[in-house]
């Protein structure tokens, strides 16, 4: 490995970390604004013009707040849990091509940290590890609500992860590769996965639904459902530790939006500036949709989510895979 590659990778890692950490902050601002507008409110208005500096205020608050480790918790695990959430979210980003490759000062930049040939498998795996954050945090917190939240997290995890996997099988079968770059190239040539094949559309919808469960957003905001179990696994956390959970959740939302855009909606297409902008627009749409649903839809119960995953989505996904197989066979 040459030094340039190492430097380039390190720079990319730092850029991704900084950009998405900041985006997590802006994400909260946008979420609050969008929700407010949809509910005829103004949202944050007082810190800075139109409340723009609210993020800075929140950041200062989170960073300077006392880090409370309650008595009776399992210390090391309690402390490490938020790190797991944030770390796995960012680790998953390693295999995501955020932009088409471009040349700057004569140096060709691949905006992907590690173009591994099992990219999608890696992303799924690492994101799945992210479950340990809420699970361990919840179990270590010595708090009933946290424990319930952890149990819910585990139960839901198995449910939606099956759907995620099965729904991804269809594009995998069609593309025949696990690298996200290959997905992009395939779609650039054959049209968007979601619309080129009916089975692709079905698996796109299934994956999208599963993505809500994966990121724990309304209507599947079950692990930290405020009106039932306070803040779930986050109940006992304060300050920046709680902030890490938060950053993890928002980073996840962005990354899963990228994954969906790349796998199903053609990614950056032909790699032109327009394609790059298109990818960002698609990501923005997915992110906005997360906020939109939160304003519009109610939460479901854990049993309803599992019912949905196991009895509706999984059979659909299996049928979809079988049909895909049959179609591909002929």
């Amino acid at each position: 490995m040459d030094t340039a590659f190492i430097i380039e990778t390190l720079v990319k890692i730092v850029v991704v970390l900084l950009v998405f950490s900041a985006l997590a902050g802006f994400g909260t601002y946008f979420e609050r604004k969008v929700l407010a507008f949809m509910q005829r409110r103004l949202g944050p208005m007082h810190v800075g013009p139109y409340g723009l500096l609210q993020i800075a205020a929140d950041g200062i608050k989170l960073f300077t707040k006392e880090d409370i480790v309650p008595a009776g918790v399992v210390g090391p695990i309690f402390k490490i849990a938020p790190v797991i959430t944030a770390a796995t979210a960012f680790m998953a980003a390693a295999a995501i091509p955020f932009l088409p490759e471009f040349t700057i000062f004569g140096y060709t930049v691949h905006p992907i940290i590690a173009d591994v040939n099992i990219g999608i498998l890696y992303i799924l795996g690492v994101m799945a590890i992210g479950l340990y954050g809420p699970l361990l945090g919840g179990m270590a917190s010595n708090n009933k609500w946290s424990l319930i939240s952890a149990a819910r997290g585990a139960a839901i995890f198995i449910s939606y992860e099956v759907v995620t996997g099965l729904s991804l099988l269809v594009p995998l079968m069609i593309v025949g590769s696990l690298s996200l770059l290959d997905f992009n190239e395939y779609q650039a040539a054959n049209g968007w996965m979601a619309f080129a094949h009916p089975m692709g559309f079905v698996s796109f919808i299934l994956f999208w639904i599963a993505a809500f469960a994966e990121t724990g957003r309304t209507p599947f905001h079950l692990v930290a459902n405020d009106h039932e179990i306070i803040d779930g696994f986050g109940t006992e956390y304060s300050g920046m530790r709680w902030g890490l959970f938060f950053i993890g959740e928002y980073a996840n939302m962005f990354f899963i939006s990228f994954v969906m855009a790349i796998i199903f909606l053609g990614g950056y297409g032909d790699g032109t500036v327009m394609g790059a902008l298109g990818l960002l627009l698609k990501v923005a749409f997915f992110f906005f949709f997360f906020l939109w649903t939160r304003a519009a839809w109610p939460d479901v119960r854990p049993d309803q989510l599992m019912w949905l995953c196991w009895k509706v989505l999984m059979p659909l996904a299996v049928v979809n895979v079988v049909i895909t197989g049959i179609v591909m066979m002929f």
Binding site: F37, M38, R41, W292, A295, A296
Partner: protein, 205 residues
């Protein structure tokens, strides 16, 4: 204004709407049908449409409180005020102590004495706003329309016991002389058509 809508206390069912609620599905088949119907009829999208519509309309109802304030109803019962007489500008309060007596949270207290002109003088008058429940009885009982409720509802304090003194409540004298003092229309005020209800007394001289 007609008072019919207030005086008619015949609360019947004439204006009631019944919400139609279907029976809960009993069998698995019925449940399936319900799920399918709901999934296909796009109920979820109605919700999405509604919030999107509101966002586009951008009809914001937020009142940015410390900067903007909603107008207070004239009968609102906030922090007390002491009125002055219109012509002379002297205090209306005669120190009769009825407010002190009627106060159900026992937060009014006053000291009185006889002054140089042989009149009753209020030397100290306090209301403990920490205790006051703003029921308006003091304003209602006041025979001189002296103590009334003003519009000042912001009374945060660093401690629970928060006293307000006579001088703080009293309308400033220059305001009273200019006639800027507003008559309170709330509890205990003179109602319209009061004249018709008062019995006349002969005044022969």
């Amino acid at each position: 204004m007609s008072l019919e809508q207030f005086t008619d206390r015949n609360v019947g069912q004439q204006h009631y709407f019944k919400v139609e609620i279907d029976d809960y599905p009993q069998t698995g088949w019925e449940k399936f049908k319900q799920v399918t119907r709901r999934a296909l009829s796009g109920e979820l999208f109605v919700g999405l449409w509604v919030v999107m519509r509101e966002m586009i309309k951008f009809d914001i109802h937020t009142v940015q409180y410390p900067k903007e304030k909603l107008p207070i109803g004239p009968r609102y019962r906030a922090v007390h005020e002491m009125q002055r007489l219109f012509e002379s500008g002297t205090e209306r309060c005669i120190g009769c102590g009825l407010c002190e007596k009627i106060c159900i949270s026992d937060c009014i207290r006053m000291d009185t004495r006889i002054d140089e002109n042989s009149r009753k003088e209020v030397t100290e008058y306090t209301i403990n706003l920490g205790r006051c429940i703003f029921c308006g009885y003091c304003a209602e009982v006041c025979p001189e329309l002296a103590i009334v409720h003003g519009p000042r509802y912001e009374n945060t304090s660093e401690q629970r016991e928060h006293f307000i003194l006579f001088e703080d409540m009293l309308t400033p004298i220059d305001m009273a002389i200019k006639g800027e003092q507003k008559e309170y229309p709330g509890f205990g005020a003179v109602t319209p058509h009061e004249d018709a209800r008062v019995k006349k007394t002969p005044l022969a001289y």
